[in-house]
């Protein structure tokens, strides 16, 4: 197994043993259970879990091993050379039956009313091995709390979890997963002996961002989620394999659906060790409700006399044709642009780009709806960094891991778990550097909170530490000092506010590490000066040779951000890609290319007049909401396709209902560049169509078919995906410019936009379960800060920037300890982007208490 705890047992790499007369050779460190399973011998288990440390608690997995006087638990016994194991002797069977008898003593046997019925390990094992009669002649123990009104011990312990302690068999998988895999302590075991119970920690709710997994791994019906329970029996559903649409890892999932109702009932994991280890973030688990919600757009809308009214598809398409043609004829196709969501599938994204480029000869298109001032082309260090190869599973076997400018728990939950795993199971050394404290730090050897706006200086300081301490052998290292300012560790450390000694420890770890994973994240991508920081990172990479002994990358953020890059949805695709596109389409438009920001500026100047948005919501997500709105309002014609009516569709002349990812089959490229397929689970609801079909329908109206067939489309995509889009590292050290950071008088706090750990982007607000975890925006700040403003948890706070203000409740942070505030961007009711200025490095704000 990839994640054995103790690989250094030495000696040979394998052991050979006999199980039920069969000889089997397995890697050293395998347990007897794993060895048996590897040759198809099934041993029952309750408490064993492939991704958790064995505890040997339930004792159902007994085997007999010759020369061992007692029965052994196979899940916790390491296979040794020459062992002779029996899994089915009378002694084993008796032992197993005794355990089942013990477990069933106080088990309610309420299978007919239990939601786990049909997929319960206990039910299954009892049928296979149990006694058909009970020797237990006592009243079964019943858990009851004073405030319970029914005889069922149904207890809500979290926004989405119901606990029934009577059914619990105390395998401790939930508690262990919470602790070992997620680092959460909101669930625990209480009391002792046979009244031991699982419960929420006193005064707390089980509401961590991975809480849904606890339900999934519970072998019985002790933990159930509210979205699924009592809605349908598992045997009445069918499953469809799919991919999470709200993470860039492309976590593998299964939809449980019912065809007649055309409805999804729940999501479970579809374990893929290379990607997700079988753990799902709650966002992944509950975001199917974005599709099943009743608020979906039903029909196309057309603006008539200033009001959007329902229309037929045919009417809508006709209007689109007429209006876009008018613009094309009057002003030229290049006055038409588009913005597509990076969560769309390959086919939709590719059709989008092809439509705009081929029909209108326009290079004014982008897939980036939320990052200010992104470069339009790839001739820059940021793009180099973003194009580097990365393996999620590669995090596991790194001995040194650095997370920089990222709050993994809010951006990359899957990778967050991997980092924890590397620490818990492989004892990797973790270093966390960010302008504010993040939760990843609780597995970190060192957490470095550098001063706001000094990201590049911090990285320079790490380089300088390596030079001054003579830690690296890079031949041209002497050149580096000329490219960076300041040029001594002491000065750089002082500027970024991290102790030089601390920086030296990290530099030493980077130098000594055998395999280093360096992850940069959204704080870099989001930052206006990303190019400066990326340049510093290129130097860091060169100095320590990180890419040669590991991996360094800025991680893609959305389900198909990588697909968008690899299919050329940006204004200026990578040169290699352009060449291929030119071949496929026999020519490419050579008109001016604009990124999102430039497009918005030119809309405002009325130089872009027609615009198509697919799945994106720039009004909600792009900095400076007023500016975005004004720009879009200046358009002559705006088409928006989305699942819902949004702030952006409100401005549209035509709104088209878009199908969600579960409603069509599609491919997505995850942050590793791995192409994954999501099957169609539902028929598109109401009158929605997938993006690629909508584009084909529009193209039809222009009598310029995009593709002669699906096969043609797919073969074009295949050709593009073969192009290597990795950009070469710079030849030598590069100059790291000095950033100009505006200070805003009277606005002393730095605001960082974020996602709530239960939300991602603008759509998850439609998923009820996720809203149950968090349904409202907040401002999160350090306790000390709050006290300085005389604020308490829950107080209404006025948050002001030079250009706007919002009023949000205060949340006191468990992690933050400096002068920053975090505000989630996921809530329509509190549009934080109205506070952000387009061209700023730091978003300065001030706060005040709102009088009651």
């Amino acid at each position: 197994m990839a994640d054995k705890q103790n690989p250094e047992t030495g000696g040979q790499a394998t052991v050979t043993l006999t199980i039920d007369g069969l000889t089997v050779t397995v890697p050293r460190g395998y347990t007897v259970l794993e060895a048996a399973r590897s040759i198809g011998i099934n041993i029952p288990t309750f408490c064993w879990h492939p991704k958790l440390k064995p505890v040997g608690a339930c004792r159902i997995c007994y085997v007999e091993i010759e020369k061992f006087p007692k029965l052994q638990v196979s899940c916790a016994t390491v296979a040794m050379d020459g062992m002779v194991v029996h899994t089915n002797t009378d002694q084993v069977k008796n032992g197993r039956r005794a355990v089942l008898e013990f477990i069933l003593l106080n088990h309610p046997l309420d299978c007919p009313t239990c939601d786990k019925g049909g997929e319960c390990d206990l039910q299954n094992l009892t049928f296979a091995h149990g006694l058909d009669d009970s020797r237990f002649a006592f009243q079964k123990y019943r858990f009851v709390d004073d405030d319970m009104t029914t005889t069922f011990d149904d207890k809500r312990i979290g926004p989405e979890i119901i606990l029934n302690r009577n059914r619990c068999i105390l395998c401790y998988k939930c508690v262990r997963a919470n602790k070992e895999a997620f680092g959460e302590y909101d669930l625990g075991a209480y009391e002792r002996g046979n009244i031991t119970e699982i419960n929420a920690a006193p005064g707390r709710q089980v509401a961590n961002p991975f809480s849904g997994n606890l339900v999934e791994i519970c072998p019985v019906g002790a933990l159930t989620n509210t979205d699924w329970r009592y809605k349908i029996r598992v045997w009445l559903t069918k499953t469809t394999p799919s991919i999470c649409n709200f993470s860039s890892s492309g976590t593998n999932i299964l939809f449980y659906k019912e065809d007649h109702k055309n409805k999804i009932y729940r999501v479970t994991s579809r374990r893929n060790d290379d990607i997700d280890d079988g753990w799902l973030a709650d966002i992944t688990r509950y975001s199917y409700q974005v599709i099943t919600s009743d608020e979906r757009l039903i029909k196309p809308l057309i603006k008539k006399e200033g009001k959007q009214v329902p229309a037929t598809w045919e009417e809508a398409l006709e209007v689109i044709k007429k209006r876009l043609n008018e613009i094309k004829d009057k002003k030229g196709g290049v006055c038409i642009g588009g913005l597509a969501s990076p969560s769309l599938d390959n086919a939709s994204l590719y059709s989008f780009a092809k439509f705009l480029r081929r029909t209108f000869n326009s290079n004014k298109l982008d897939y980036r709806q939320d990052y200010r001032m992104l470069p339009k082309d790839t001739a820059n260090n940021y793009s180099i960094l973003a194009s580097q190869p990365f393996k999620i599973a590669g995090i596991d076997d790194s001995d040194v891991i650095v997370t920089f400018a990222t709050d993994l728990l809010r951006e990359h939950q899957n990778e967050y778990l991997r980092v924890r795993k590397a620490f818990n199971f492989k004892k990797a050394r973790i270093f966390v550097a960010n302008p504010y404290a993040v939760k990843t730090a609780d597995v970190a050897e060192l957490e470095m909170v550098y001063k706001v706006g000094t990201d590049e200086i911090f990285i320079n300081a790490v380089c300088l530490a390596a030079l001054e301490e003579n830690l690296v052998a890079c031949p041209d290292r002497a050149d580096l000092k000329k490219k960076i300012k300041p040029s001594s560790l002491k000065d750089a450390a002082e500027q970024c506010g991290v102790a030089p000694e601390t920086i030296k420890i990290m530099a030493r770890a980077l130098a000594e590490g055998k395999k280093v994973t360096f992850i940069a994240g959204e704080l870099l991508t989001r930052c206006r000066d990303r190019e400066i920081i990326a340049s510093a990172l290129c130097n860091l990479n060169r100095l320590f040779g990180l890419n040669r002994k590991g991996q360094i990358a800025v991680l893609a953020r959305y389900a198909n951000s990588m697909g968008a890059v690899k299919l050329g949805i940006s204004p200026e695709p990578v040169p290699a890609l352009k060449k291929e596109l030119e071949k496929i389409w026999s020519g490419l438009p050579d008109t001016e290319a604009y990124n999102t920001d430039t497009m918005l500026v030119h809309m405002k100047k009325e130089e872009i007049n027609g615009f198509i948005i697919m799945g994106a919501n720039p009004v909600m997500l792009y900095p400076d909401r007023e500016f975005v709105k004004e720009s879009l309002e200046k358009l002559d014609f705006l088409v928006v396709c989305d699942l819902y009516e949004t702030e952006t569709t409100a401005l549209a002349d035509v709104v088209l209902p878009l199908a969600g990812w579960a409603e069509y089959a599609g491919d997505y490229i995850n942050l590793e560049g791995c192409r994954q397929h999501a099957e169609q689970a539902l028929k598109p609801r109401f009158e929605a169509y997938p993006g690629y079909e909508i584009l084909e329908m529009i193209a039809d109206k222009f009598e310029k078919k995009l593709f002669s067939s699906t096969e043609e489309r797919e073969s074009e995509i295949d050709r593009l995906l073969k192009v290597d889009t990795t950009l070469p590292w710079p030849d030598g050290f590069v100059e790291v410019k000095t950033a100009e950071i505006e200070i805003e008088k009277d606005y002393p706090l730095a605001l960082f936009l974020c996602d709530d750990p239960h939300h991602c982007g603008h759509l998850t607000e439609k998923a009820n379960s996720l809203v149950n975890f968090c349904g409202e925006a907040y401002i999160e700040m350090a306790e000390e800060q709050a006290r300085a403003y005389n604020l308490n948890e829950g107080d209404s706070v006025r948050l002001e920037s030079p250009i706007g203000k919002i009023i949000v409740p205060l949340k006191i942070s468990e992690h933050l300890d400096n002068q920053v505030v975090l505000v989630p961007r996921n809530f329509t009711s509190h549009p934080v982007t109205s506070l952000l200025m387009r061209k700023r490095r730091i978003d300065w704000v001030r706060i005040s208490k709102v009088a009651e």
Binding site: A57, R59, K70, L71, F102, I103, L105, R135, R192
Partner: protein, 444 residues
């Protein structure tokens, strides 16, 4: 200063050179570091640290034949030698002072009355295994022990027996006094480790053994208070001297906590191999049975060990003899029951304890002890059914040897022996819905 009023044979120890553990326990000044030093205290620690190599100490303790006094009787020197020599991780020594085994109250006497002896023994053991931070995990209810130890540790720092650069050798050693979580299971060494780490006190599966991966996954040695308190004497007077005490295979002295229906319950330090009957009847020790009644049976090594019947009492108190008699030395808590005791009632009290204290981790112990309590409870209450004895035996068999930690075994071994020795009495209870003996004697 407060003393728990417990009878000891300290007076005998003052006269008898061999009884080293109890020599000063009736001296109310002994808790003060000055007195302890005047009595030769901390000489062994100084000797060990300034003139012996760690390996030499381990050898010496191995040679002495000292075995763990916490219950399992594992050879102490050998345990220490399991610490990996080349591990870069820190090592930890933990003194197990969670003393909660019913009947056992010897560690408390040592901690309350001779705390520096415990610290000194710990220091030597710590040095022997290369530990620079040691812990004593004291049962939460033992307020006086905790205060005593905290005071003593402060004194030891002030007198530079602990802290930095001890005796100018460059060796640093710190000590932490930790108040326990208040559960019997926290005395089990792996549950203790969890508890000390701030987790729920639940046993861990072995391997890995604590010596390889213990506290914070670092090499760790857990030893009982009495075990560690014996170490300074071995260092001072040598392993050869220690071997002259006790029997060939069970060397040294041992404190027995005598309780139950005896006239003089108390703690008695005797050489291993001491006769059980003598311990119970000799006026210098137990002084005979309350009301001069007959003995029914004895638990010789704490509530977790099998009963000895009245006709088995002519046995010597050492590891081998007791094993031969079908029981165990355990923690050395001798509990005596006289003829009027209802065995079913005794077992009900015991199984209630184990059911309540089971950590809840493994199925057989958690569920089995609960079921046993219910079956035994109904027999005791006059509701026993035919077949109940066989059912108890079967359930016991499904627990014995099937659990993570020895608590499961501890819960069933006394039951199995009680059925073996007094089966007729169990049967009578079931058949006649009442007790064979006249009274249910509430013992103090």
């Amino acid at each position: 200063m407060f003393y728990s009023p417990v009878i000891t044979n300290a007076a005998e120890a003052v006269k008898n050179e061999k009884l080293h553990l109890f020599r000063f326990v009736e001296d109310s000044e002994q808790v003060k570091i000055g007195t302890y030093e005047a009595h030769g205290g901390y000489q062994a620690w100084k000797k060990a640290l300034t003139s012996m190599q760690p390996a030499q100490i381990v050898e010496e303790v191995k040679k002495s034949g000292l075995r763990g006094r916490g219950g399992a009787g594992f050879p102490t020197g050998m345990k220490w030698s399991f610490i990996p020599k080349d591990s870069p991780k820190p090592r930890y020594l933990i003194c197990n002072a969670d003393e909660s085994e019913p009947g056992t109250c010897k560690d408390r006497v040592l901690m309350e009355r001779d705390p520096h002896a415990v610290i000194e023994g710990m220091a030597i053991a710590a040095y022997a295994i290369g530990c620079h931070r040691m812990f004593i995990y004291i049962r939460g209810e033992f307020n006086h022990s905790i205060i005593r130890l905290e005071t003593a540790v402060k004194e030891a720092y002030a007198h530079k027996h602990l802290g930095k650069n001890i005796y100018g050798t460059g060796y640093d050693l710190d000590m932490v006094v930790h108040s326990g979580g208040g559960a019997y299971i926290c005395g089990e060494e792996t549950a203790l480790l969890n508890s000390l780490e701030g987790e729920r006190g639940m046993s861990r599966i072995r391997p890995p053994f604590p010596a390889i991966e213990g506290l914070y996954a670092c090499p760790t040695i857990v030893n009982n208070v009495e075990t560690l308190a014996s170490v300074p004497h071995i260092i001072n007077r040598g392993a050869d001297w220690y071997r002259t005490l006790g029997t060939e295979k069970s060397s040294g002295t041992k404190i027995f906590s005598l309780s139950g229906h005896v006239k003089r319950p108390g703690n008695y330090e005797v050489e291993l191999g001491f006769n059980l009957k003598k311990l119970i009847y000799d006026p210098a020790y137990g002084g005979g049975i309350l009301g001069d009644k007959k003995i029914k049976g004895v638990i010789p090594g704490g509530s977790s060990t099998p009963f000895l019947k009245a006709d088995m009492l002519d046995v010597n108190l050492d590891y081998e003899s007791l094993a031969q008699a079908g029981s165990m030395l355990g923690s050395g808590a001798v509990i005596v029951f006289h003829e009027d005791t209802c065995i079913v009632w005794v077992i009900l009290k015991l199984i209630h304890f184990y059911r309540h204290e089971s950590c809840g981790k493994c199925t057989p112990c958690r569920e089995g002890t609960g079921w046993l309590e219910q079956i035994i409870g109904r027999i005791e209450a006059g509701g026993g059914k035919p077949g109940d004895i066989e059912l108890i035996e079967d359930v016991c068999g499904n627990i014995l040897g099937r659990t993570i930690c020895p608590l499961g075994d501890a819960a069933v071994m006394p039951i199995q022996s009680a059925i073996k020795h007094w089966r007729d009495e169990w049967q009578f209870h079931i058949d006649n819905k009442k007790c064979m003996v006249k009274t249910n004697f509430e013992f103090r």
